[in-house]
């Protein structure tokens, strides 16, 4: 950004205007209406960001982050119109997962605590949404989600209180025990939670009628419904990321990072260790619950056997590969989660491994585990760290 020579910037609004005209008269008749409008909004938002950002970033960081989020959100929404229904669905699943990764990143990266319990917090959010929707079908979806997040935060508080006194492996052990005990807890209240079988939502999420007008007439309701669901998920994800970005930069976030790096110094400076640790737990639990709640809405059902230790380990792996304690890392992790199975399946079928063989079905595990080890050994800051180093290397040339 800072390398842009000043005179060039003046041509930007004119250039964007020309682009808008081209879009309106040349591109639009070949696309669906909704797409064209999204394109225009993206261009508009990008131009606002480009022109306003450098000055605003120092003075009003919150607005700068909001603009950046808006641009990313627009681009993603635009993308969903072009992708197939299956790819959109995977994107929604991955977006919800990235919310969970963000929460864990905050806990681990910002405050140094290791938690394996996130899949259980996801399960809490997922179950609460289903249980509430089954009994109170008229509550607006957003309210149901907020209730699920609140429950997740409450459980995070419950677990976070004992966690304040624990160090490293003991904390990991406690969260491990919690996630292993989650199926038993679920079965204990099986009359509410449906036990192992889980619950189904009474009606699936469907798109509102006005959406259909933006697409060609032969778009199926299945595709429309998927696009709507994916877009809603992406919007909620964007909001969650925006809030987290502000939290990272806030005083509480800085205090967390100080605790991670040197807790004695933090105490000397006056940071309350137990309070900060509990806050980190609550935030990460709330985010995990949000991710789980979205999964229930996306799948239209909750299946408690999904939320096991294996999922917690997957979450940990994705966060490490993406980059611990970073926001782009959570996005990378979410994308990897969404599409890695497809990529791996494509890979095994092209390399000639029989699709029904043991090797093919275990390939995701082999790839994941190997990636985790290699990342930790050679690139401990994950993909984000590697990209940073690449950028620094290019800058130094």
């Amino acid at each position: 950004m800072s390398r842009l020579v000043f005179p060039r910037r003046q041509f930007l609004p004119a250039g964007l205007l020309v682009a808008g005209l081209v879009v309106a008269f040349v591109v639009t008749p070949r696309l669906r209406d909704g797409v064209a409008i999204a394109v225009a909004v993206v261009i508009a938002a990008a131009s606002v960001a480009v022109l306003v950002m450098p000055n605003v970033r120092q003075a009003h960081p919150v607005i700068a982050r909001a603009l950046l989020t808006l641009v990313a959100l627009d681009a993603t929404l635009l993308l969903t119109f072009f992708l197939s229904a299956t790819t959109d669905f995977n994107l929604a699943v991955g977006a919800a997962m990235s919310i969970v990764l963000l929460g864990l990143s905050f806990l681990t990266g910002a405050s140094g605590q290791i938690s394996l319990g996130n899949s259980a917090f996801m399960g809490v959010g997922a179950l609460v949404v289903a249980m509430w929707a089954d009994h109170h079908a008229t509550t607006p979806i957003v309210v149901t989600i907020l209730i699920a997040v609140a429950c997740g935060a409450a459980v995070g508080l419950l677990l976070g209180l004992p966690a304040t006194r624990l160090r490293g492996p003991y904390l990991a052990g406690m969260t491990l025990a919690f996630v292993v005990a989650f199926p038993a807890l679920d079965n204990l209240f099986s009359s509410w939670t449906g036990g192992d079988a889980g619950l189904e939502l009474p009606t699936p999420v469907t798109s509102p009628h006005w959406l259909a007008g933006y697409f060609s007439a032969n778009t199926s309701s299945f595709t429309l419904g998927t696009i709507w669901m994916t877009d809603m998920t992406v919007i909620i994800t964007a909001v969650a990321f925006f809030l987290m970005a502000n939290l990272f930069a806030s005083r509480a976030g800085r205090a967390m990072r100080l605790i991670r790096d040197n807790d004695v110094a933090a105490e000397l400076v006056g940071v309350s260790l137990p309070r900060a640790r509990v806050l980190a737990f609550i935030v990460s639990a709330a985010y995990a619950a949000l991710g789980g709640a979205l999964w229930t809405l996306i799948n239209n059902s909750v299946s408690p056997p999904t939320y096991t230790l294996a999922l917690s380990i997957t979450i940990l792996s994705l966060m490490v590969i993406g980059g611990i304690g970073t926001i782009p890392g959570a996005i990378f992790g979410g994308v990897i989660y969404a599409y890695s199975t497809n990529v791996i399946t494509w890979f095994t079928s092209h390399v000639g491994i029989g699709s029904q063989s043991n090797l093919a079905s275990q390939m995701p595990g082999i790839v994941f585990g190997a990636l985790l080890i290699l990342t930790m050994l050679f690139a401990p800051r994950g993909l984000t760290g590697a990209l940073h180093r690449l950028r620094e290397w290019r800058r130094d040339r």
Partner: protein
Amino acid sequence: MNILRTRRVATLGASLLLCLALVSAGGTAVTAGAAPSVPGVTATQITIGATVPLTGIASFGYNEVAKAANAVFKYVNARGGVNGRKINYVLKDDCYGTPGFGCTGVPSTPTQTRALISIPVFATVGSLGTPTQDSVRTLLKANGVPQLFVNSGSLDWNDPTNYPGLFGWQTSYNEEGKIFAQYINATFPSANVCFLGQGDDFGTDGLAGLVDGGVTPTVTDLYSVTSLVLTNGANIEPYIANFQSSKCTVVVLDTIPGATDAALGAALALGYTPQWVISSVGSDPYTVFTPLAAKGLTTDPEIGAVSFSFLPTPGSSSPWIPWMYKVLEADPTDFPGFTSTSTLNGNMEYGIGWGVAFVEALKAAGRNFTRASFLQTLTSTTFSQTPALLPLQYTPSDHQGLNGGFLTKVISSTEVAPITGKIYVTNSLPGGPVTAATKFSTGIPSWLK
């Protein structure tokens, strides 16, 4: 500085508004595309799909069911298909809905079902599992995709008011329980009966049938599948020990084969020898004994157990048995090395049973059909020439499927035989009586031979 910034923002705002105005004026709706056709059906092919456990705790044995049905489809395809269309069967693995270390990366049932809907498939046929199929009912209904011949005996599939496209196939666990109850009351009149069932409809429906048929177990236990996976079956042992100390002489198991194995093994170690009464889906001798043999057992603890079936036993004289061998021998891809001396196990028969039913329904629907007309055909035709010993009949108000069967005894590690050969029918209504069947299937249709 402020004036400059205001000017910049103003320029921008103006260009933004102009863009939007031009875009809305310039946009035109794209015209509609091709005429609507039946999803999944072309002139030469019909595509159907299913989510089945190809990996995981329930996969051994159960992964043969859909493959056996597919063998039927391949056999029919080799003879020109049905009404000129070949059947393309797409299988997706959902690990019985129990993801874990053994099933890393396996997508959930809703994800796989969505993938099937996107293909698109005409219907899902033969998806397996009670909780797995419960979780996708509203998804399939909302997208108008029929959910046919669900491989499970739960009563959930019989809900025509809410789910007009949802159909079961096998005799329900409830009806099986009633028939078991009648046998137990007649043969072990004053025995202490204990019940172990899976912690979902499989267990609860079976128990309800048992109680309704007049047998109230002294001890009732339900096990969790996740716990079964985590403890490798060790979670079953305390239940069996409890049964032994409660002095039960008859134990009813509504369990999947993995749990049946755990129960039999636990009883063996405890020196406990009750009369076992095992549900049809969890008692196939080959499926039950093979893992036990792999652990070093030489005698099959299941011998002497009572079970239930609605398909002809391999030793019977039904003309379907040689036909099944013919079909499986013609499919070396999924059944390599299957010859006339191989064992025909219960999973294969089950798959062939509903595979034939689907093929016959497809034939009866005619060359030109829609989803609606196909469902209409299903509920107005009696299929009395399928491998099941009883005719298969659906009505607009009853989507359950078969409604009876006969009692069997496990006589070796590969075979069951009928106890009396008498076939019973009942229904799943409370108090529904168990009576002897009067209508039976009438052999193989000529066009299928």
